[in-house]
Amino acid sequence: MRPFAYERATSAEDALARHEDGARYLGGGTNLVDLMRLGVEEPAKLVDVTGLAHDRIERTPDGTLLVGAAVTNSDLAADRTVREEFPMLSRAVLAGASGQLRNLATVGGNLLQRTRCSYFQDASKPCNKRNPGSGCPARDGEHHNLAVLGHSDACVATHPSDMAVALAALGASVRVVGRGGERTVPLGDFHRLPGAEPQRDTVLEPGDLVTAVVVPPLRMPAAYRKVRERASFAFALVSIAAALDVRDGTVRDARLALGGVAHKPWRAGRAEDVLRGAPATEETFARAADAELAAAEPLRDNAYKVPLARNLIVRTLAELGEGS
């Protein structure tokens, strides 16, 4: 690992001032330190942002949840308000990593974790995300767990976060402070599709600091489901965050986001459009799933994700429908 300077920021302004070319913000380090050890990241300086005052979970009078970027994944999942009012978020966070990793990992770091594509993590291999223009060996190589939606010739990676999938369904947004001041980015616009610039996971500019996540209240039954290769402590093959409001047999409102299928948490807007106003039947749920997945372009070894996602959508919605 290349030597690096370490500094602790005391405020957002201080963090911005300390951030310079070649620097990285440090959260819990559970992704960044790993990537530094692999030689994928070689920062000259780490600016530790866990000491900032962004370590609180607050509730505004209208029910909106404000989660500081330095809040640990564990504290978010165990928070009473989150468990009672946003149980889907709690469950998504708990579905990720392990107990001891969640104790270190922060909300900011979770959003900004990099893909688990094995070529990206192997610094001896070409990879357009790590080394733009070097090629994408995953496209014809090992890609059984990579994207089926929204990928490009340049990159077929997936975003690994569970938490972000729940936040996408919840219509959350991300507070960012950068050189140009503060701004709020809807979660759906925060992560990017790879296009011709897979090296950019998000719309953040160098030096931009995530300070909080803002989650509007959601008053419908919701669920988070994750399918993986073993029962626990594995990344998603496909995951789903769903919420369904059914009254008198009709879907009033629906929220749907998929994980493990794309370069970003995939908000399933087409499926939501089919659902709203339709009878809450399995036939509708299947139509909604098909509408969303019509755009899928599976690779040689990951076509299984399409029926997996379809079944997961139908089953999760059916269970939510029964409960209401």
């Binding site: 690992m1 030597p3 370490y6 380090g29 468990r83 708990l94 392990s98 107990g99």
Partner: protein
């Protein structure tokens, strides 16, 4: 040596198993490296160095954490308990006793991490933290075998001593634990 490769050194203090240490550490050193290489506490193991196995788990300010991914420099002032610090006055903790009684290890390589992780896990359950499989995340969880397995999934055991580990945890903190 080119200047780029010159190590950066930082002064930190750590309280490890009740004893304070003032150290100059390479900024690249993980807590695990510091415990093993600087302090000679080799109980915590380097199984993978990537957060995947749990053999390096210690209690960091009271919570279980993978010491391989935690940079020492980022935890200046922290209190750490390793497997060497679980016994009190030469007496094994109830959990350590239960591991022996229930045959919860074979080669023992994963055991220090299992013990520290389990100690932290039981605290979390006592505080009412839910897990991914808790039926109602808003309710206080009941620590049955399935909950124990889910909560301990960050600790792998190549010898497959899981049955004994779950039995030990059931005995100390599970549903039917003696009060």
């Amino acid at each position: 040596m080119d200047s780029e490769a010159t190590p950066v050194v930082a002064a930190i203090a750590l309280v490890v198993n009740g004893t304070e240490h003032r150290l100059s550490v390479d900024t690249r050193a993980s807590l695990l490296d510091v415990l093993r290489e600087y302090l000679g506490l080799t109980g915590s193991k380097k199984g993978c160095d990537h957060g995947q196995c749990g053999a390096c788990t210690v209690l960091l300010d009271g919570r279980r954490a993978n010491s391989c991914l935690a940079l020492a420099v980022a935890h200046d002032g922290a209190e750490i308990v390793t497997v060497e610090g679980l016994a009190e006055d030469g007496r094994l903790s109830p959990l350590q006793e239960a591991f022996i009684e229930q045959d919860a290890f074979q080669c023992g390589y994963c055991t220090p991490g299992q013990l520290c992780s389990a100690t932290g896990m039981l605290n979390e359950a006592e505080q009412g933290w839910p897990s991914a499989i808790t039926e109602d995340v808003a309710a206080d969880p009941v620590l049955d075998d399935a909950e124990i397995r889910e909560r301990m999934s960050g600790n792998l055991c190549r010898c497959g001593a899981y049955r004994g580990i779950v039995a030990a945890l059931r005995e100390v903190g599970g549903e039917g634990a003696r009060p």
